[in-house]
């Protein structure tokens, strides 16, 4: 029995299934993910022009609200918004000052008073953007730039775009995700995206201390051994390892981790010869990955960065048009 599983996450879609917030890949079907990839593909061309702007968000105000510091993600969101001709405000908010939820709602009320159209938010609490999307004034779009360990959907979609560019498809692909899955919002979103897009097999490779309980239920296979896990894979995604993992007794040392789970040229040979190597960055050379692999011919790490801007342009423009469509529909009824 139990109660209502109250409206499972339709919070990010309009009545007719358009994106109006972008919080998680859960609940988004293959057609919508493919639409995001196709739209992003069309924006890649914009980045190649000498005048890199389209007027889709002209006159709109986008606020980058980062409760956790980030240079790269924030910059690509900023560039994406500017290429869509939006006005952009960057706010880095010290988490320690706002660790209480009350101040989060208060912060938001203040910002809304500035008549913003979109918030791009990163927060250390899983689900913070859901909370904000439920509380925000109708018409304002929320884009998740990473929440706790939960989701980083734009990162996952730029990874999917990179895979599609190099492999042309998802069907039949074997993908290995290596490293700290437990703390990784990126991995959770990637696993969801790959399952939705039809990858044949998703493997997670890590020691048990860096895997969530019941991780197989997310739709992946667990390997404790890197060599075995890499056998015959088409795509290798390395995850970033934070230094503080040693302190929490999750790992003995960086050295041992690198020895067992670091991607070296020698271990890369276990994968398919044409396997691509990805990393969400920033890279810890010599901890997760050998420099020769990161800079080698199979690495597509810099393509990921380029694709990041295009994917972010895609979800920002799609969410804004979803909000506009919903407002128009609301006005008619």
């Amino acid at each position: 029995m139990t109660v209502t599983e109250a409206a499972p996450r339709q919070i990010q879609l309009t009545e007719d299934g358009q994106l109006k917030h972008f919080l998680t890949l859960d609940g988004l079907g293959q057609p919508l993910l493919t639409e995001i990839l196709d739209t992003a593909e069309s924006f890649i061309e914009v980045g190649a022009r000498s005048i890199k702007k389209v007027p889709l968000l002209r006159g709109r105000t986008v606020v980058n609200l980062f409760f956790e510091s980030s240079t790269r993600t924030r910059s690509t969101f900023e560039l994406a918004a500017k290429r869509l001709s939006a006005d952009v405000l960057n706010l880095d908010i010290n988490t320690s000052a706002t660790s209480k939820g009350e101040s989060l709602s208060d912060t938001l009320l203040n910002l809304e008073a500035m008549a913003s159209d979109m918030f791009v938010i990163r927060h250390s609490q899983s689900g913070a953007q859901h909370f904000i999307a439920a509380a925000v004034t109708p018409g304002v779009a929320i884009i998740n730039a990473g929440d706790g360990r939960h989701a980083h959907p734009t990162q996952a979609m730029l990874d999917m775009l990179t895979i599609r560019q190099h492999k042309g498809r998802f069907e039949g692909l074997r993908v290995a995700i290596v490293g700290d899955v437990l703390h990784s919002r990126v991995a959770r979103s990637q696993i969801r995206a790959l399952n939705t897009l039809g990858a044949e097999e998703i493997r997670v490779i890590a020691p048990a201390t860096l895997l969530p309980k019941d991780v197989e239920a997310l739709g992946c296979k667990v390997f404790y051994n890197l060599q075995q896990g890499l056998r015959d894979v088409d795509v290798i995604i390395m995850l970033r390892l934070q230094r503080e993992r040693m302190e929490g007794a999750l790992l003995p040392s960086e050295k041992e981790f690198y020895k067992l789970y670091g991607l070296s040229v020698e271990k890369l040979a276990y994968a398919k010869p044409d396997a691509i190597v990805m990393h969400p960055g920033p890279i810890n050379r010599g901890v997760e990955i050998e420099s020769a692999v990161a800079d080698g011919p199979q690495s597509v790490i810099l393509n990921q960065v380029t694709n990041g801007i295009a994917v972010r342009m895609a979800v920002m423009s799609m969410a804004m048009s979803g909000q506009v469509a919903e407002r128009a529909a609301g006005g008619q009824s």
Binding site: E5, G127, F131, R149, V215
Partner: protein, 428 residues
């Protein structure tokens, strides 16, 4: 309170957990006790007649775990508001958890609670004293003094003991004075910063998990130490199937242990957190369907003696934040009966088991005379309408905490009258 008036309850269907009194019979309440039943009651005169036609008459509910928030947390509730809520929920006795500010670790705080309750509470309030000073898990509280001041048992509230040595000494000292220890089993190191069951939903949503073993290792430790010290142990708010199995096994080998479960653990699972809804942030966390089934079976087979509210009213701000930053707990006193009746309606729990776990079961844990319908028993009664539909909202609920997941929704089954010591404590 004057006990002069007598009340006769007529036409109601009696439901006695001991099964002695059943069917439509008259009850006569006089001098604070059930004075007569059936033909004797029919024949006797009474000052007041209460017609309970079409309704059930049960012993008043007894709650072993309830946070009244006073002293010290006025923004979340008070003895006045939360005991009114208790009366509306059919409770005639509530145990006040020691997690107040200051903590109820001295006779002075116990007396304060009892004084306020005497003036403001329509129901009986039984304070639980803190087993350690400040609930810090380090130094023993003045246990005998707390009991002398009116505490019915000692508890660790929602806090863990610092280590097994302190726990063992706590038990040995409590045993010396024949005091019941009510302990919520949680291994603090394993629970760490978690706030959701470490399972599928936490894995998917990236929530910090409290593993099931945070509870089961604590249960095992407490059972072994209770067995050795001989203390009377009551395990509070079990959440896992294996805990129930361990309690059943310990009982079988003669350990003096009883147990309870919070009503929300019987109704919800980890799935309730799928939308990051802070209403379902409780501690211990909601676990799996398998756990829920075993907890229900535990109530049915008697391994679990009592269902508690674990009532925790909160101010709106405490629940209005990203899930991990919210306070744990639900305010359930007023909706608990309706939650239980849903289980009965879904054939997950029998009406008799539900009733026993709300009355006779908790009464026996604390050795109270209440919790039964019999001549000579306290006239603590609840008259309820199992069919009545009502909406849980600001118009019908009086708890200072609106943090229950039924807010704004329709429920079935409602308490219409609560009597404490033969006096009206609540009437719809």
């Amino acid at each position: 309170m004057s006990q002069q008036t007598s009340i006769k309850i007529v036409n109601g269907e009696l439901l006695d957990p001991a099964g002695q009194l059943t069917g439509v019979q008259t009850l006569l309440l006089r001098d604070g006790i059930i004075a007569a039943v059936g033909a004797d009651a029919d024949a006797a005169p009474a000052d007041q007649i209460l017609d309970a036609a079409g309704r059930l008459v049960t012993p008043g509910f007894i709650d072993l775990s309830c946070n009244l928030r006073e002293p010290g947390n006025g923004q979340k509730g008070s003895i006045a508001t939360e005991t009114r809520a208790a009366a509306r929920g059919g409770f005639t006795t509530v145990c006040a958890a020691p997690d107040t500010a200051p903590v109820n670790d001295s006779g002075a705080v116990t007396s304060l609670i009892l004084d306020i309750a005497a003036q403001q509470s329509p129901v009986r309030v039984l304070p639980l004293g803190a087993a350690t000073r400040g609930l810090e898990g380090e130094l023993l509280s003045d246990m005998a003094g707390l009991v002398a001041a009116g505490c019915v048992a000692l508890s660790n509230g929602q806090s863990a003991m610092r280590n097994a040595r302190i726990l063992r000494r706590c038990m040995a000292y409590a045993k010396t004075f024949d005091i019941t220890l009510i302990l919520q089993p949680e291994n603090a190191a394993l629970a760490a910063d978690g706030f959701a069951h470490d399972g599928l939903v936490a894995a998917r949503l990236g929530l910090l998990g409290i593993p099931e073993v945070a509870e089961t290792t604590a249960v095992m430790e407490m059972l072994l130490l209770a067995e050795e010290t001989g203390v009377r142990l009551h395990l509070a708010q079990l959440s896992s199937a294996r805990s129930v199995d361990m309690v059943a096994a310990a009982r079988q080998r003669g350990v003096a242990v009883t147990a309870d479960v919070a009503m929300h653990q019987l109704v919800f699972t980890e799935d309730a957190l799928a939308g990051f809804d802070s209403a379902f942030h409780v501690r211990p966390p909601l676990r799996t369907e398998n756990d829920r089934q075993r907890l229900l079976a535990g109530v049915t087979d008697g391994t679990i003696d009592a269902i508690v509210s674990q009532h925790q009213p909160h101010d709106p701000a405490a629940k209005h934040a990203p899930l991990g930053a919210t306070a744990a707990g639900m305010a359930t006193l007023e909706v608990l009966l309706a939650m239980g009746l849903r289980l009965v309606q879904a054939d997950e729990l029998s009406r008799a088991s539900l009733l026993r776990a709300l009355t006779q079961g908790p009464a026996q844990v604390l050795g109270l005379a209440a919790g039964r319908l019999a001549p000579g028993a306290p006239a603590d009664l609840c008259v309820l309408d199992a069919e009545q539909r009502w909406r849980a909202d600001a118009d019908t609920l009086v708890s200072a905490g609106a943090n229950n997941p039924w807010h704004g929704r329709e429920l079935q089954g409602r308490v219409v009258t609560t009597l404490v010591g033969g006096q009206l404590a609540y009437q719809v």
